[in-house]
Subunit: 283 residues, 2 copies
């Protein structure tokens, strides 16, 4: 979906698309990252902090809690969260009965021209979590998290049967010719394949211009669903609204995951370097 | 390349192909896993332990040390290593002057029908290493290691500019219709993209029948080279001998890797689950 400036319009669009997905059988529906409005991280402007609200009493979350219960669908809801003086890029996990199961705060915060998220978001402090929803045990990362094999693995190790990534990514303002969409898909296809876990990524579409008019981003859509071998089984275009669905037999996937043996053959005793920034064996 | 029973023939084939690669400019050449002979792990037979020899004085390694020096190429040489009562699936890193830089012992050992490696190999004890060769700093994993994001990441964190995986993989004896080649490629493409590090995988070709005649494997080739976004830039067929080459500007790759920011934005403080088998936060 594309986002406009008016929160109510974006909620209405997401509501319509969730209903469409549920109508064709979806049980877990992923709306893109920060769908309440434009991708404000295109600029560094203090006024955008006013977009952040606490989880408690959050009207957008409340809207989709009602919808989840009505449709019996699980909805990870991406918001800009204010928590006292901290601000986070957060997903609230809404179960299919409308209950909040908890929150995940984006762990990996990007910073580049047009994607100046370090200005807006504290690095998440929840760690990677999984959620035993009515329809499956799911893991949810947020956008930049999707580039990190560690995040996908941490969720898979905790039993995630499906991985979800709400996203906002498109062109690079310093180099409009640069198209990361293939790179973006391949890295997540790798997570799906390495964890033998289906993966869903939902990105926005549309061209957005910063408040200052200096930068613009064309979000490239290309939302997709990967199967447990990393093959794409559904994929949206670059500039059209779309509802993608796929059906996975989680028992069959689990059998395949066990028999392939990767989670049996891991060597945690040799992974110490992963807990460092520079590969030094010691912390 | 395909392998036959006679070690001398396989050495001659590998020698010819290394010369061909060097002739078209290759500086680092990857020969497939255990190229001295058939993939004996298709059966569990005590007689195959006689194929293991110590690194010191190993005639195949010595052969390729001479060749490396003659051609000024780096050669990771895959052997079945005997070390007292232990046996490992090992790569000896031969620098372009013919010197041995050290060894890496395969960390992740598979076990499945036709791939009964746990019968033959101790789990490697060297950990993941990188090698400052004359032509680049390289990381080398061995076959099954290629399925583990942790191995690729550990090598990239230590400064690997290129990742190499000698391989022996093909059909699954219990289900000849099962073709893992796409899965296999996608997982490694994911490593390349997630680490912004080019990656080279060399697999064998040919049909091999176990000594007992009960099992056969058709190795599917499909050797490939991925660029730092995970895109395939060279790929071999499934049943033909091939020499693949690609040229990477390692300085340009490093600039891209830094500017993309993944190694800046990692969160080692949140990766504790990776050091467990079951995702429990504590060890």
């Amino acid at each position: 979906m594309a986002m406009s400036e008016r929160v109510a319009d974006n909620i209405a669009t997401a509501d319509r698309l969730v209903r469409e997905a549920a109508g064709i059988g979806a049980q877990i529906v992923l709306i893109p990252e920060l769908f309440e409005g434009p991708y404000f991280c295109i600029d560094m402007l203090a006024e955008h902090f006013a977009r952040a609200f606490p989880v408690e009493g959050h009207p957008t979350v409340a809207h989709f809690q009602k919808l989840a219960a009505e449709l019996n669908v699980v909805l990870p809801i991406s918001i800009y969260e204010r928590a006292n003086n901290a601000t986070f890029n957060t997903v609230v996990i809404v179960d299919a009965d409308g209950a909040q199961l908890g929150i995940y705060r984006k762990s990996h915060i990007p910073d580049g021209v047009g994607y100046t998220e370090k200005f807006y978001f504290n690095p998440g402090d929840t760690g990677f979590r999984v959620w035993r929803t009515r329809h499956a045990t799911i893991g949810v990362g947020i956008c930049w998290d999707q580039w990190f094999p560690e995040a996908a693995r941490a969720m898979a190790l905790q039993g995630a049967e499906l991985l979800f990534y709400p996203t906002a990514i498109g062109s690079e303002p310093p180099d409009p010719a640069w198209d990361s969409s293939g790179h973006w898909q391949r890295v997540m296809q790798g997570h799906a394949g390495a964890n033998l876990t289906p993966l869903v990524a939902a990105n926005r579409i549309g061209r957005e211009v910063g408040r200052a008019g200096e930068r613009e981003i064309t979000f490239y859509g290309s939302s997709f669903i990967a199967d447990p071998t990393g093959a794409k089984v559904a994929e949206a275009g670059r500039d059209e609204e779309a509802v993608l669905t796929a059906l996975f037999d989680l028992g069959a996937v689990r059998e395949m995951r066990h028999s392939w043996g990767l989670f049996r053959d891991r060597r945690p005793d040799l992974y110490g370097a992963l807990l460092t920034h520079d590969g030094s064996g010691s912390r």
